[in-house]
């Protein structure tokens, strides 16, 4: 019997070695280890053995069964691995083909920069307000110390709806509206569309955007104006940015100034962006004129304030190196998708 068992083991070993398919292995398992298999058949004869031989042969038989079973398991694992490998090889794709993606829309460049400015001012405690674009002459001019026939009206060619209603030429009317609606302390910005009768070209548009700012409180000085706008410049263009304040004239602020930042392209050395000056103008500002405070219902003896106005298109053009403002309103997808 021992010999028989040895025979089975040998035969099985050869058969398993030869087997290349899972089916063959399965057949081998049935042939050798199955209920009607060769090993079982041998074991059935165990009864004829002596009591001494039985455990010895039993042990041999178990060893043979174990051996065959292990061999089968090993071969199965081997074949399965090979099969999976073949399958994976078969499934190879060209990973360089373009992805099929979800399209996410693009924010308009005007909004990208406006969002940034809003965030900067919100961080300094400014609320965001808005006012009507179709506005009364009173708010756009009269209350801002620009009476009818004032030469300053020349620089703002105005679209009129009636003699008293117009398309606002600036966001400054929001100053008066904010003062009427809120009490000091007051910290607001008011971004929005403004309109001037300028023909369209690379740097002009009859519609553009401004961001107005207004601060009114007790003891507000020009130092606060400078501090606030200096912070804006540094947040917009980096901590190294310098600001320069130049006297200017706006009827609704006194003193008034224009604010330049050190050229963000050349750092102030002089280049084509800043026309060799090293400075780029970004906004106008000033201390709110006492008459304007009074028009807003605020006592100029008790309160003072400052106001400023930024042109959004200009900031956007600087930010993205855009040289033609028209692109902003054409909405060509090839343009929009760049942002």
């Amino acid at each position: 019997m021992r010999q028989q068992l040895e025979e089975i083991r040998k035969n099985a070993e050869a058969a398993l070695k030869a087997a290349n398919l899972l089916e063959e292995l399965d057949a081998a398992r049935v042939k050798y280890l199955g209920k009607k298999g060769e090993l079982t058949a041998v074991l059935k004869q165990m009864g004829s053995l002596s009591a001494e031989e039985r455990p010895i042969i039993g042990q041999v038989a178990n060893e043979v069964r174990e051996y065959i079973q292990n061999e089968i398991d090993a071969r199965v694992a081997e074949l399965k691995a090979a099969q999976q490998e073949a399958q994976l090889a078969f499934e190879t794709i060209d990973v360089t083909l373009p992805g099929e993606g979800v399209e996410v829309g693009h924010r308009h460049p005007l909004s990208i920069v406006l969002d940034e400015v809003k965030e900067i001012f919100q961080g300094m405690g400014f609320d965001i307000i808005s006012g009507p674009e179709v506005e009364l002459d009173y708010y756009n001019f009269e209350a801002l110390n620009i009476p009818k026939d004032h030469p300053a009206r020349d620089t703002q060619d105005t679209f009129y709806i009636t003699d008293n209603i117009l398309l606002r030429t600036q966001t400054s009317p929001c100053q008066i509206r904010a003062m009427e609606e809120r009490k000091p302390p007051l910290r607001v910005i008011s971004p929005g569309r403004v309109y001037r009768s300028d023909a369209v070209d690379a740097t002009h548009s009859p519609l553009f955007h401004q961001i107005e700012g207004l601060v009114v409180d007790e003891g507000i000085t020009m130092s606060d104006l400078k501090g606030t706008l200096d912070t804006l410049a540094k947040k917009l263009y980096g901590p190294e940015t310098k600001t320069r304040f130049r006297p200017h004239h706006f009827p609704f602020t006194e003193p008034s100034c224009e604010v330049d930042v050190s050229c963000f392209k050349c750092g102030g050395v002089g280049c084509s962006m800043c026309k060799g000056e090293g400075w780029v103008e970004i906004l106008g500002a000033g201390m709110v004129h006492p008459k304007v405070l009074k028009n807003g219902g605020i006592d100029p003896e008790k309160y003072s304030g400052f106001a400023f106005g930024l042109g959004l298109e200009r900031l956007v053009m600087f930010r993205f190196g855009l040289d033609d403002m028209r692109m902003l309103y054409e909405n060509d997808v090839r343009f929009l998708e760049q942002f």
Binding site: G105, Q122, D224
Partner: protein
């Protein structure tokens, strides 16, 4: 305003580079736009002396000149000009020089003879005969006695073409700085330098001005002062070089001595002057009055202009001779036979001049100055300056005296001197005496705690104006910088947050943001086929639009979107998926401000898009807004849209959105050659109905049971209707219903379709029994059958 530095130097001298000068003046408040040196382009052109000249042996029009150019040797230059003679002094462009056109001149050969350069005409130097009236246009410039004839000298120095011109941007509140003296005052104050002003001196003349001229001011509210003087035996001639070159530097063309004097005084003092021929002044009588209606005047430019009774005129006893401060009449010019002239130096009300100039549609140098409101105090000084110049130039015989009618004297502006107020307002600490000194340097008087503003500072009216003067000479950039103190809370309003949410949702659905003009063409309403009586055509209209295309404020955002889709299509972009959060303007009648409301308009075209891709986005927006309950109805009659592919979404019976495929006729109007899909959402109403509050619901504890149901229905039966019927009938254990198939084809029969739903049932309290589910399904089937649906077996 251009500033000749040479002219400036007469009043104040500072030693600084041009760049620093520009910077310093800009920082103290007179903004320098640019500066340039006259003749900067010229190189290596010098004064030469013609030693010899003879005909070119091989040419009948060329001349061979031997020129002493100061280099130590005599050079030979060939010229084609016919006006050069031996002994002349001429501009010589040497070998390797540059002339005004930018052309380089080098030595060469002309008809076989060497020419080591070129003799120059005025044009080649960048000048005209106005600059040197004795020269000829098309010949060599022969230097006259008013030039430096040192051979070898740089031509620019020799002929006074070497000034530096600084261009200033002067703001409308500072008409006093539209003058050399005004800018000299600013320069002196900026640098702490001495300002040397000149008092005009007129030598005794002939006769008495009162025998020649009488002035009456009728409109005293519009003419504050009128000064007149008379000059007899006028000798019209070119002005001397110094005057010509200063005018040129300022950008004013020299004409003749009389005209040049008026311009010279205007530039020097900022006071427009007028000279006219006394012959045409009827009755030798100047009357300053309002024009009478029906009156007209032919102005110097030859145009006849109708006047209105609002316009101020200078008249004689019969007719207007000039529109005050704007332009003179046709006879007021200086003519060849002019013998006696009147010089006018007057001060008019700025608004009156502005209105007249605007009304006549003619803005002149004079009106541009007057309308900023000039100062009446200096009228007589300016007139004296003109007379002084007449004598200096020997341009005529001055008649003794001036006629001075100062009808409405200007009251000086007096303010309390409050240095502490200024320190507090600006945030500085400048001692009172320093503040007083700053003010004194720019012409203010500070005495006994009172400030008197000089008459030329028409902009001073409030303490804040004084503070500005202090601040700008203290230096804006020296004011300390301070961060805003105090705590302020900034929060977005619910509406601002909502708008942000809408835009984020639109973008995450693949739509890109657009920004379009708020004004459109009224024809846009035709292009989207709105009926003539549509309320949307009632829009806010611009009285003075740039053109029809931008003449009305939009009442609907769809045309703007179609415009953009059309533009993208025309530019061959194969697809576009866009949105705009657009403001629309709903008229409230002519005298009221319109309502400014927002619409969210979505638009797309391209092969991947269908009506359903658009609807999917709209549904996503609604669900993001927390809106689950809404109705969708087909819209067959909106002229903008495809009658079979358009829906209206309503909440509580009111439309919140319309969406659909654009009507082919509208596509044609916008030159869109592909199907396009547009949705328009009423943001105001959506915001009203939005529910952004989120409350956690526990995840289900019990298992769900699902059933599929398929029906055959009429092809035109809206699926939503069946779905709603099933949902209602199945009761609250129906957790979800999903449409998973719609099929139309031979198998289901003509005009029929098959629709299949997946129903998921679940209870929060227990595991559902088969009976419970079966009963709900039965009710659902019954409800569907009531709509004519037949269960598919």
């Amino acid at each position: 305003m251009n500033l000749s530095k040479r002219w400036l130097w007469e009043f104040v001298q500072v030693d600084d580079t041009d760049r620093n000068f520009a910077e310093a003046l800009t920082i103290s408040g007179s903004k320098v736009e640019s500066y340039e040196h006259e003749g900067a382009i010229l190189e290596n052109i010098v004064v030469g002396h013609v030693e010899e000249i003879e005909r070119h042996p091989d040419s009948d029009h060329l001349w061979v000149c031997k020129i002493d150019d100061g280099s130590g040797e005599i050079i030979q230059i060939i010229t084609g000009a016919q006006n050069v003679s031996k002994g002349d002094y001429v501009p010589v462009a040497r070998h390797k020089s540059v002339i005004a056109s930018g052309d380089k001149i080098t030595a060469g050969k002309l008809r076989g003879l060497e020419s080591r350069g070129m003799l120059c005409s005025l044009g080649e130097l960048g000048l005209t005969v106005h600059d040197f009236p004795y020269a000829i246009e098309d010949g060599i410039f022969i230097l006259g006695d008013d030039c430096d004839k040192t051979v070898g000298k740089d031509i620019r120095e020799a002929i006074g073409y070497d000034d530096t011109i600084v261009e200033f941007e002067i703001t409308s509140n500072r008409p006093d700085c539209l003058s050399i003296i005004g800018l000299a005052r600013e320069t002196a104050a900026t640098y702490g330098a001495e300002l040397k002003l000149h008092t005009p001196e007129v030598k005794p003349g002939i006769e008495d001005v009162n025998d020649y001229l009488k002035v009456d001011i009728e409109a005293r509210d519009k003419c504050y002062r009128y000064c007149g003087a008379v000059v007899k035996n006028v000798r019209v001639a070119p002005s001397p070089r110094w005057m010509r070159e200063r005018l040129r530097a300022e950008g004013v063309r020299p004409i003749n001595n009389i005209v040049d004097i008026t311009n010279y005084v205007m530039l020097e003092y900022g006071q427009p002057m007028h000279a006219f021929d006394l012959r045409f002044l009827e009755g030798n009588h100047v009357i300053v009055r309002n024009a009478k209606s029906g009156e007209s005047i032919t102005t110097l430019d030859g145009e006849e202009r109708a006047l209105t009774d609002e316009m101020l005129v200078i008249a004689d006893e019969k007719k207007p001779v000039a529109v005050a401060g704007v332009m003179g009449g046709e006879y007021s010019g200086i003519m060849d036979d002019t013998n006696t002239i009147v010089f006018e130096s007057a001060c008019f009300n700025g608004v009156a001049v502005r209105r007249a100039a605007k009304g006549l549609g003619m803005r002149t140098e004079s009106s541009a100055r007057f309308e900023k409101q000039l100062n009446p105090d200096d009228c007589d000084i300016c007139l004296a300056r003109a007379l002084e110049l007449v004598q200096m130039l020997d341009a005529g015989d001055v008649v003794n005296g001036i006629v001075d009618n100062y009808a409405t004297p200007k009251e000086p502006v007096v303010l309390p001197f409050m240095p502490e107020w200024t320190n507090k307002f600006i945030g500085i600490d400048v001692p009172a005496e320093d503040q007083a000194n700053i003010l004194r340097k720019i012409g203010f008087t500070v005495e006994n705690d009172q400030i008197t503003a000089p008459a030329f500072r028409i902009d001073i009216e409030h303490q804040a104006d004084i503070s500005e003067e202090i601040a700008r000479f203290y230096g804006y950039n020296n004011i300390p910088t301070r961060e805003l103190s105090g705590v302020a809370k900034a929060t977005l309003t619910p509406r601002q947050k909502f708008n942000n949410l809408l835009e984020k949702t639109a973008m995450s659905c693949g739509l890109s943001e657009t920004q379009t003009f708020s004004f459109i063409s009224p024809r846009a309403y035709d292009k989207i086929r709105l009926p003539e009586d549509s309320k949307l055509r009632d829009c806010v209209t611009i009285m003075n639009p740039l053109g029809e295309d931008t003449s009305v404020m939009r009442t609907i955002s769809i045309p703007s979107m179609l415009e953009v889709l059309g533009r993208n299509y025309t530019r061959k972009n194969d697809k576009a998926a866009l949105y705009e959060l657009a403001t629309i303007y709903e008229s409230n009648g002519k005298d009221e401000l319109p309502n400014e409301n927002q619409q969210l308009v979505l638009g797309m075209y391209g092969k991947d898009f269908t009506y359903y891709s658009l609807k999917g986005i709209v549904e996503k927006i609604l669900s993001t807004c927390g809106i689950a309950e809404y109705d969708v109805e087909p819209v067959k009659t909106c002229p903008i849209f495809h009658p079979g592919r358009t829906a209206s979404i309503t909440i509580d019976g009111k439309e919140v959105a319309i969406l659909g495929e654009i009507h082919p006729a509208v596509l044609d109007n916008y030159e869109i050659g592909a199907r396009a899909y547009v949705a328009m959402i009423d943001v105001e109403y959506l915001f009203e109905k939005a529910d952004l509050v989120r409350i956690y619901k526990a995840l289900p504890k019990f298992p769900a049971t699902t059933r599929d149901l398929a029906f055959v229905v009429e092809a035109d039966m809206p699926v939503l209707k069946i779905e709603k019927a099933i949902s209602t009938a199945a009761g609250k254990i129906l957790e979800n219903i999903d449409l998973f198939d719609v099929y139309q084809g031979a198998q289901v029969g003509e005009n029929k379709k098959s629709v299949a739903f997946n129903l998921r049932f679940r209870s929060a309290e227990h595991t559902l029994t088969d009976d419970e589910v079966n009963s709900a399904v039965k009710k659902a089937m019954k409800a569907a059958e009531e709509l004519g649906a037949v269960l598919r077996s």
